[in-house]
């Protein structure tokens, strides 16, 4: 066996692929070969490290030196300087957004320091397509332990005692769900992994499957053993081709090794797994709709009860869990309930993965203990908003969640505290909004999403979201009337109370939470016909500040409709009647003389 003195971990997650990591890998391979280092240094293509914004990322182990935004032209320097001479290339280190310090090591970067990785523990550190690497990180140790020393009831009890709650949104106790299904009498039962990940702004399930697929499979096997299922499905969004490919590779490998199939590891437990590709419908993330979709029908929810644990796929008892839920399971079995339950709050145990995006410096995927405050996530991990921009709100939970303002940032986050504050954990999308984001526009955005994804089965959701959207569009267009707010509120509560499935029941949340904390912004739109953030096009005009303009003529040249005129070196004028509000002049003005009013 070749012994390598170092490993170059190159991120091959979706973010880094789009930033060009494939070329970096080839360049490193060539460079190492040229310098005859290919027997000493091993290149490993890993899954996402979470800091996609800084990609392509290259990490050198064992020193854990962390290089960001690596380009092909940097490769030679890294090899010559760092790998040959032991002098790390500091120019490519991560720069802390606040202190501007250059940080060489992975663990010392603010973005990673406050994280605690259980579900994501292997993501970014192993080659997801290499089974042996998973094995070397305690892979399938939980399965082995379970098959040799635990009964199905014991497994369920451990998961229950650990306090694991579903990471797909609702936060239902996973152990209790398994117990209910285990009690259902039927020779045939199913396990389903929900990887439909429809929340526009969340991508943890994708990263988990791309970065460590065996971990999710192991979690599913444990669940299958606990409830007595012998068949399972992974329902993966078709928009995630890489996740599908890596999961398929993992399944085939597990089959070859006898970890899937008949009499696994010599026990009398048998289990097979299949992938079903989603076909592009958000509502299919809802469990009963997902089941309909696997059965080959239109993915429409049905009323519950009966719950899937009693009557699920093909009418048989079925447990559906989220990808991240399964990803936590092997560690619970391996290290016990107490260790898992030691992290988190009274009623929400363990960690949660959040997709941190929007108007802040470090965007990406983070796994943090429950009970952490939003302020820590946004400022300590996310590095805060961009220079000179003021934090306005954080949107959590996607189309079913809500917006929290500045004064709620110190709230310890868990399932229950978020619901009390008018938001929701949802899948864990966190979108930071600054003073250039319009709250009414964000509410309108989510409504247009839920409106177009409503399956149309029940009237409150189909018609109600349409009417709500119409009113919000009117407000954004400057045609709101004072009664609109009361009308919106009344309709929102009716939809919440009467829609059939979670999509409709939670669709009004983005409106209700913004009305709760940002009512004044709605009022500004309605009464003053102003959009304070300068987003709603009908409610502001572009203007030139003639004290700042130096007459460089750039804007006059690029304005597509010729709305700007003026003499060279003289302040320019903008004709607001001709202006089509494309915003190009504002982007290009070197003096920042153009503003919205």
């Amino acid at each position: 066996m070749v012994f390598y003195r170092g490993h170059l971990l190159i991120c091959g997650g979706t973010g880094c692929v789009s930033s060009g990591c494939k070329d970096i890998i080839i360049a490193f391979q060539e460079e190492l070969r040229k310098k005859k280092l290919d027997e000493e240094i091993k290149i490993v293509e890993t899954g996402c490290h979470g800091l996609c914004e800084m990609g392509p990322l290259v990490i050198l182990h064992p020193e854990s030196v962390f290089y960001c935004r690596v380009e092909v032209k940097d490769v030679q320097e890294i090899v010559d300087e760092h790998l040959m001479k032991g002098r790390p290339v500091s120019r490519l280190f991560f720069t802390e957004p606040l202190s501007l310090d250059k940080v060489p090591k992975y663990q010392e970067i603010g973005f990673y320091r406050k994280q605690q990785r259980i579900a994501l523990r292997n993501c970014g550190f192993i080659d997801p397509e290499n089974f042996n690497e998973y094995l070397a990180c305690d892979g399938y140790a939980a399965l082995e332990k379970m098959l040799s020393e635990m009964t199905p009831e014991e497994v369920t009890n451990v998961v229950k005692a650990a306090g694991l709650r579903g990471r797909g949104g609702g936060g239902f106790s996973t152990g209790t769900k398994w117990e209910l299904c285990a009690k259902a009498t039927s020779i045939k039962k199913y396990i389903i992994c929900n990887a439909d990940e429809g929340d526009p702004g969340a991508f943890m399930d994708r990263s988990l499957l791309e970065g460590d697929p065996h971990n999710v499979l192991e979690g599913m096997m444990i669940a299958a053993y606990a409830i007595g299922a012998d068949e399972g499905y992974l329902y993966i969004r078709a928009e995630y081709p890489l996740a599908i490919k890596r999961t398929q590779t993992a399944i085939s490998r597990a089959e070859e090794l006898g970890l899937l199939g008949k009499n696994i590891l010599g026990s009398n437990f048998s289990f097979t797994l299949k992938i079903k590709e989603g076909a592009g419908a958000f509502v299919c993330g809802e469990e009963t709709a997902l089941i309909a979709s696997i059965e080959g029908r239109r993915g429409m929810p049905r009323s519950r009860p009966p719950f899937p644990v009693v009557k699920g796929l093909f009418g048989k008892p079925t447990v559906i869990n989220n990808v991240e839920t399964f990803a936590n399971v092997p560690q619970i079995i391996l290290h016990g309930a107490d260790k898992f339950a030691a992290v988190g709050t009274e009623r929400s145990k363990g960690t949660k993965v959040f997709a941190l995006t929007g108007k802040l410096r470090n965007t990406g995927l983070v796994e943090v203990p429950m009970g952490i405050t939003m302020r820590e996530i946004i400022y300590d991990i996310g590095g805060g908003t961009f220079e000179g921009k003021k934090f306005k709100a954080v949107q959590i939970g996607g189309p079913s969640g809500g917006c929290l303002p500045e004064d709620r940032l110190d709230l310890p986050i868990d399932y229950d505290s978020l619901v009390q504050a008018g938001a929701m954990m949802g899948s864990g999308g966190l979108v930071v909004l600054d003073d250039e984001s319009c709250i009414v526009d964000v509410a309108r955005y989510f409504l247009s999403f839920t409106r177009s994804e409503s399956c149309g089965k029940c009237t409150p959701c189909r018609e109600g979201t349409m009417r709500l959207l119409e009113i919000l569009e009117r407000i954004c267009a400057g045609q709101g009337v004072p009664e609109d707010i009361a009308k919106v509120e009344k309709l929102a509560y009716i939809i919440k109370a009467s829609a059939l499935c979670g999509l409709g029941q939670t669709a009004p949340n983005p409106i209700l939470s913004t009305l709760r904390y940002f009512r004044h912004e709605y009022e500004a739109h309605i009464h003053d016909k102003k959009c304070p953030a300068g987003v709603c096009q009908a409610l502001f005009d572009y203007r030139i500040d003639d004290r700042i303009c130096n007459g460089c003529t750039i804007c006059a040249k690029i304005c597509p409709v010729g709305a700007i005129s003026g003499e060279r070196k003289q302040a320019h004028q903008l004709d607001i009647v001709k202006c089509i509000k494309c915003g190009i002049c504002l982007e290009r003005c070197p003096k920042n003389a153009i503003f919205k009013e």
């Binding site: 702004g201 928009e239 080959g296 239109r298 993915g299 999403f449």
Partner: protein, 167 residues
């Protein structure tokens, strides 16, 4: 009777080239069951690039699923297309992260460049332009996908150069 004939004609006219052989092979491989309808439609769309009416009729017949049901499923899921599609598929992300980071400006630029709206295909079949909800690369917002390539950290002025990579 008349309807039967039309169907027959359509199907035979159809089973003539390579694509149709592939479809037949696909249908032969999979047993008759409604459960695999979505899978078969996905595969058929991979073969033809979209789902022509005759293909839907053939699938309905082979899987023994009613035409209404096939049509219902096809129109429910946004992945299925009843019209021919461009050689290159542009998918602009309209997820939350991309929305707040100004993807609408990018969409505007693409429209301007290729001359069609979201949901349409250019006449020369070079591009089909679609909007999707989150492609899971939010860290790089705003993001578009062309075929299977993801382009992130976009600004409107990068658009023409990117489009020119796809013929």
């Amino acid at each position: 009777m008349a309807l039967e004939q039309v169907k027959q004609e359509k199907c035979t006219e159809f089973i003539s080239d390579d694509m149709d052989h592939k479809l037949e092979a696909l249908l032969l491989k999979n047993e008759k069951s409604p459960e695999i309808l979505i899978f078969v439609l996905q595969q058929a769309q991979n073969i033809y690039g979209y789902l022509p009416e005759a293909v839907l009729l053939r699938i309905s017949e082979a899987l023994d699923v009613s035409k209404a049901k096939v049509y219902g499923v096809v129109t429910f899921y946004s992945q299925f297309h009843l019209k021919p599609r461009g050689r290159n598929i542009i998918r602009a992300c309209q997820g939350t992260a991309c929305h707040v980071r100004g993807v609408s400006r990018i969409i505007g630029k693409i429209k301007e460049e290729i001359g069609v709206n979201v949901g349409e295909t250019t006449e020369d079949l070079r591009f089909t332009f679609e909007a999707v909800a989150c492609i899971g690369a939010c860290g790089l917002a705003p993001v578009i996908m062309i075929n299977s390539d993801t382009h992130g950290r976009l600004t409107a002025d990068k658009v023409p150069a990117i489009l020119s990579l796809y013929e």
